[in-house]
């Protein structure tokens, strides 16, 4: 028996509709009898099946638009599927609090906002605030408005907030590459903590360096289809070869 599965994706299809017509006016509705808009269907995921295991870090690679972000969103169960199933032992957390944060407010206030968005109570956040600030390494800048932060500093804060409660399954979409060496070391530590607690991490990235650093297995997504899953060395080599020949 292999390692236990934490997330099981089976034949997942995700389509986006991109509308080409404006919403019909009254005139068109009367003329055509009913409102109909032409749209193009973007098949972002076309039948992806994947198992995520305990104590594993899975790398997710692929060209821009290959469906990496879509697959990560789908794994949270929050993106409606056209067909297929997504099972999990708990709901994975996608490193995505960044969208809740307010650039005009200080880092400290943003810890409160991000924490509330993640489902913490105010009391829980207050008791963990110091720990979060320390982990982010932003003690000197924490009372400054977040818009004055560099992109790396912002990434540190996002990561620190999102992992304030060590998640069982963590999905990361291009979050680590912008940080400096110190931040990379800290984030690697967090990822190890999750793994040693029998959790799983999925790391969507374009930085092959990160794959080598963190991943036990790599999945290569190409135009909405999984092209290869396996040993990091082999899959990355095949991926790089395909991009070079393009």
């Amino acid at each position: 028996m292999g390692p236990a599965v934490t997330v099981r994706v089976r034949d997942a299809h995700v389509y986006y509709r991109v509308y080409e017509d404006p919403v019909p006016g009254l005139k068109q509705i009367f003329a055509q009898g009913r409102a109909r808009r032409r749209y193009r269907t973007i098949r972002a995921l076309r039948g992806v099946s994947l198992d995520l295991h305990e104590s594993e870090t899975l790398g997710l690679i692929g060209a821009n638009g290959a469906g990496k972000t879509t697959l990560l969103s789908a794994m949270t169960g929050l993106l409606p599927l056209e067909s297929g199933t997504i099972l999990g032992r708990c709901r994975p957390s996608l490193l995505g609090v960044s969208s809740a944060l307010r650039p005009a407010l200080s880092g400290r206030r943003n810890i409160l906002i991000g924490g509330l968005a993640l489902g913490f109570t105010k009391a829980e956040i207050s008791s963990r605030a110091d720990e979060i600030i320390d982990f982010s390494g932003l003690r000197d800048a924490i009372d400054r408005p977040m818009r004055t932060y560099s992109s790396g500093m912002r990434a540190r804060l996002h990561f620190a907030i999102a992992t304030a409660r060590i998640p069982d399954i963590l999905l990361i979409d291009e979050a680590l590459a912008v940080g400096d060496e110190d931040f990379r070391r800290r984030s690697a530590q967090r990822i190890d903590e999750i793994r040693s607690a029998a959790g799983s991490v999925v790391l969507g990235t374009h930085v092959m360096d990160e794959i080598e650093r963190h991943c036990d297995r790599v999945a290569w997504l190409d135009d909405g289809v999984l092209k290869a899953v396996g040993e990091p060395g082999e899959v990355v080599a095949a991926y790089l070869a395909s991009t070079a020949s393009r």
Partner: protein, 275 residues
């Protein structure tokens, strides 16, 4: 399939309605504290800063008074026109702000919706709470103005909290409905200002419907407009304008029915929001 695999459950299945409300309640701090932070951020970098929360409604009332109280006289049939106007403008503005903000509360938080699982009802609730909190200074201003224009506190004032609570409930229902529609129809944003301009005149904000509309049948039709009902009841409390049973019944019906309808409509398509 091993035993351990059987612990897996379907992540795409929506939570049941009962646990949904429970979860929303457990997370209520989100809908209270986040809009509070937003209100702080709103006027940062302006000279008056947080004073704008009171200066804005004061200017709003000032402009209407200048035009309709001084330049064009529509004060026919109203004893205390300034008090009448202020109550109308402030309450109308509250509903307008809640509804217009609710129309974009889903699209503005798409990133959050796509990355974190939480009861989406918290987003329109946060909008409602934020705008209601921003309305408190305007309400205080209205009360001060009403007293300054010669009204004396009476027993009728005791009914005001009930009227405001009814408006809050109505606003909640409207926010849910509009948030749902606005999520799939972004045109709503363009449409709403016109709808509210229409409602503005249909609610007798700047003139007395009692004095201008003489047919009792038509006056009864006005009672179908929830904002007219709110404003009329509040004026009955504060500036002694008349309010009949139709208006009270209309307000009651709206503030009970709309939150229920709004919840059902919003919750039913919860899983598809943000797709």
């Amino acid at each position: 399939m091993s035993d351990r695999d059987q612990q897996l459950h379907d992540l795409t299945r929506p939570p049941s309605s009962a646990s949904y409300l429970q979860e929303a309640w457990n997370r209520r701090e989100f809908a209270i504290l986040v809009p509070a932070q937003d209100l702080r951020a709103q006027n940062m970098g302006t000279v008056l800063g947080q004073l704008w929360h009171i200066a804005n409604p004061a200017l709003l009332v000032g402009v209407y008074f200048l035009i309709f109280g001084v330049v064009i006289d529509t004060s026919r049939g109203v004893e205390n026109f300034l008090g009448f106007l202020i109550v109308g403008v402030v309450l109308f503005h509250l509903t307008q702000r809640v509804v217009q903000d609710a129309a974009v509360c889903i699209s503005r938080n798409l990133g959050l919706i796509r990355s974190v699982q939480f009861p989406r009802i918290l987003l329109p609730a946060a909008t409602l709470n934020g705008q209601t909190a921003a309305f408190v200074p305007a309400l205080v201003l209205a009360m001060v103005a009403v007293v300054a224009t010669g009204e004396r506190p009476s027993m009728r004032w005791l009914a005001l909290p009930a009227v405001l609570a009814a408006q809050f409930l109505f606003n909640f229902g409207a926010a849910l409905l509009v948030a749902r529609i606005g999520a799939s129809l972004s045109d709503l944003q363009q449409l709403l200002p016109h709808l509210f301009r229409l409602l503005f005149y249909a609610s007798g904000v700047i003139f007395s419907v009692e004095a201008f509309v003489t047919s009792p049948g038509w006056r009864r039709a006005f009672a179908l407009n929830p904002i007219y009902d709110v404003i009329t009841c509040a004026r009955w409390c504060l500036v002694g304008e008349p309010a009949d049973g139709w208006v009270v019944a209309g307000l009651l019906a709206w503030c009970i029915a709309l939150p229920l309808i709004g919840f059902v409509v919003f919750h039913r398509s919860e899983q598809r929001l943000g797709a």
